[in-house]
Assembly symmetry: C2
Homo-oligomer: 303 residues x 2
C-alpha cells in the first residue's frame, strides 16, 4: 500500500511509462544513419518525446493484468504510438489542418518539408506493423497476427482514417452534425485506437474473451469521456492553465458534444462514462487501480 | 501443350490475372456506402482497374508453384496492389511529383482533393495489412504474420519509403549519383516490393527455404531488369508507341543506368539479369514457364 495521493501516483506512473515508451521507440525506429537519414530523423522527431502517451500507457496497464512481459508490452505500446504519431504528422499538413506547431515544436512539414512529412508518416505507419509482426513481440504467431489485424482495423478506412474523413466533410459542409453523428465521428477518429490500446494487453496475455472484452469496453468509455473532457477544457479553461490554445472549437465553429449538450449535461455524461469505464474493471483486482485512476483523471485534469 | 506464341500466352495470362485481381480488390475494399463514402470511393478509384498488375501476377504465379489456393493468392496479390496503389497516390501529390494524370485518368488529388488523396493513401496501406492478417488469407497464423512482416519491411523506411526519400534527395541535390547509388535507390524504391511479390507465393505455400529464396532472387533480378527496360523505353521508344510520355528522364535530368552506362551496355546488363532471373527457376518445372516468359518479356516489350 502506498500513501501517495492517487493523482500523484498516476502522474508518476504515466511519466515513467512515457520514458520507457520513448526508450522503446528509440530502439525500434531506424537510427539517423546512411543516405536515408533525413527520413529516419523526421520519423524519430515525430514519434519520440511527445505527449502524455495515453495509448501506450493503456497497453502497459492492460498487459499488467495478465503478467505479460514488459518487453512485449513496450513493443506494442511503441507500435501504437507510431500510428498515433503518423496520424498527427499527416493531420498537420497544409492540405489537412495546416498546423505549424505541435506541442510547442515546429510540425514535421515545417521542420523539414511537406514531401518528407508525407513520407515520414507513411513510413511510421508501415513500421508499426513490422514491429508487431516480428517474433520479439510474442512467440505465438497467432498473437502477432491478431495484433496486426486489430491495429490495422482501428487505424484503417473503418477506423481512424474514416473518422478523419468524416471530420473533414463535417467542417466543409458547414452543417451542424447531431449527437449521433458527432459520436460516430469521434468513435472512429480517436475512439477505435484507444479501444485497441486498452484491449492489446489482453491479446498479448491470451486472456479469456470476457476479460478482453472488459478492457475493450473500458477503453471505449474512457475514450469517449476523454473526448468530452477535451472539449470541456477547450470551452472552459484558460489557455495559460491548459498549456495550449483553448476556445479553438467555438472559434472554428466546430461541432462538439459540449456545444450541443451544454456544459452541464456534457459534464454529467463524462462522469457517467467514467463510472461505467471503472465498472468494466470489476473483474480486475488491485492491479487495475491505475486504470481506475486514469478514468477519474480524465474529468479532473486541467490540461 | 499449347501452340500459342509465348508473348500471346503471357499477355492473355496477365490480362486474366489482372481481371481476377480487380475482382478481389472490389470485394476486399469497402463499398462506396455510408457517410465515409468519398474516402472509400477514392480508395477504389486508386486501386481498381489500372496497370499491368506485375506485382499481383508475380504473387499468383509464385503461388502456383506450390498449389496454393487461388483465394489465398488473390488476397495477397490484392494487398500488395493496395500498397502499390497507395504509393502512387502519394507520389502524385503536389508536394511530391505533382502529377495531374495517371494512366490517362486524373490523379486522386485532382479527381478529389489533396486531403482526400493523403487519407485514401493512408487507408489503402493500412487496409492491406488487415487483408493479410485476416484468417481467410491462410489458416496458419505464422504464415499471416510472416506475410505482414515481409510486406511491411518491403514498403517501410528501409524499403519503398526509404527509396522514395533517396529519389527526392537525388533530385534536389542535382548531383549525379553513381551506379551503386542508382542501384540502391531503385532496389529500395521498387525492387523490394517486387521481390516480396515473387516470394509471397512461397510463404503461402510453406515452401522449403531454398525454393523461397529462388523466387526472391528471381524477383530481384526481374525487378532490376524491369527498371532498366523502363529506362530504355523512356530513352528510345516514341511516346506514341509506348502509350505514355517518353524522354522524360533525360528532360528532367534524372540519373538512370541507361544515362550512366549508355544504351548498349544497359541493354546487355538487362539481358544478363533476365538470363540470371530464369536460372533461379531451374528447380521449377513447366509450372514456372509463365515466370520465364515474364522475364523475357521485360526486355522485349515496347510499352
Amino acid at each position: 500500500m502506498t500513501t501517495e495521493a492517487p493523482a500523484q501516483l498516476l502522474s508518476r506512473a504515466m511519466a515513467e511509462a512515457a520514458a520507457e515508451i520513448d526508450q522503446a521507440l528509440s530502439v525500434l525506429l531506424p537510427p539517423e544513419e546512411g543516405p536515408e537519414a533525413p527520413l529516419f530523423a523526421a520519423m524519430r522527431y515525430a514519434a519520440i518525446g511527445g505527449g502524455k502517451r495515453l495509448r501506450g500507457f493503456l497497453v502497459l496497464e492492460g498487459a499488467r493484468q495478465f503478467a505479460v512481459s514488459r518487453q512485449a508490452a513496450l513493443r506494442v505500446a511503441a507500435a501504437i504510438e507510431m500510428v498515433h504519431a503518423y496520424s498527427l504528422v499527416h493531420d498537420d499538413l497544409p492540405a489537412m489542418d495546416d498546423d505549424d506547431l505541435r506541442r510547442g515544436k515546429p510540425t514535421v512539414h515545417k521542420a523539414w518539408d511537406e514531401a518528407t512529412a508525407i513520407l515520414a508518416g507513411d513510413a511510421l505507419q508501415c513500421h508499426a506493423f513490422t514491429v508487431l509482426a516480428e517474433e520479439d513481440t510474442h512467440s505465438d504467431p497467432a498473437v502477432r497476427a491478431e495484433l496486426v489485424r486489430c491495429l490495422s482495423k482501428a487505424a484503417g478506412p473503418r477506423g481512424m482514417c474514416g473518422g478523419q474523413m468524416l471530420d473533414m466533410l463535417a467542417e466543409r459542409s458547414g452543417a451542424t452534425p447531431d449527437e449521433v453523428e458527432i459520436g460516430r465521428l469521434q468513435t472512429l477518429k480517436t475512439g477505435k485506437l484507444i479501444e485497441f490500446s486498452a484491449e492489446a494487453g489482453a491479446i498479448l496475455g491470451k486472456a479469456a474473451p470476457s476479460q478482453r472484452h472488459a478492457l475493450l469496453a473500458y477503453g471505449r468509455d474512457l475514450g469517449a469521456a476523454f473526448q468530452i473532457a477535451d472539449d470541456l477544457l477547450d470551452a472552459t479553461v484558460s489557455a495559460e492553465e491548459a498549456g495550449k490554445a483553448t476556445g479553438k472549437d467555438a472559434a472554428a465553429g466546430k461541432a462538439t458534444l459540449v456545444g450541443l449538450l451544454g456544459l452541464e449535461r456534457a459534464r454529467l455524461q463524462a462522469e457517467r462514462l467514467v463510472s461505467q469505464a471503472k465498472d468494466h474493471l470489476d473483474a480486475f483486482g488491485e492491479r487495475g487501480d491505475l486504470l481506475r485512476m486514469l478514468a477519474d483523471f480524465t474529468i479532473e485534469r486541467r490540461s
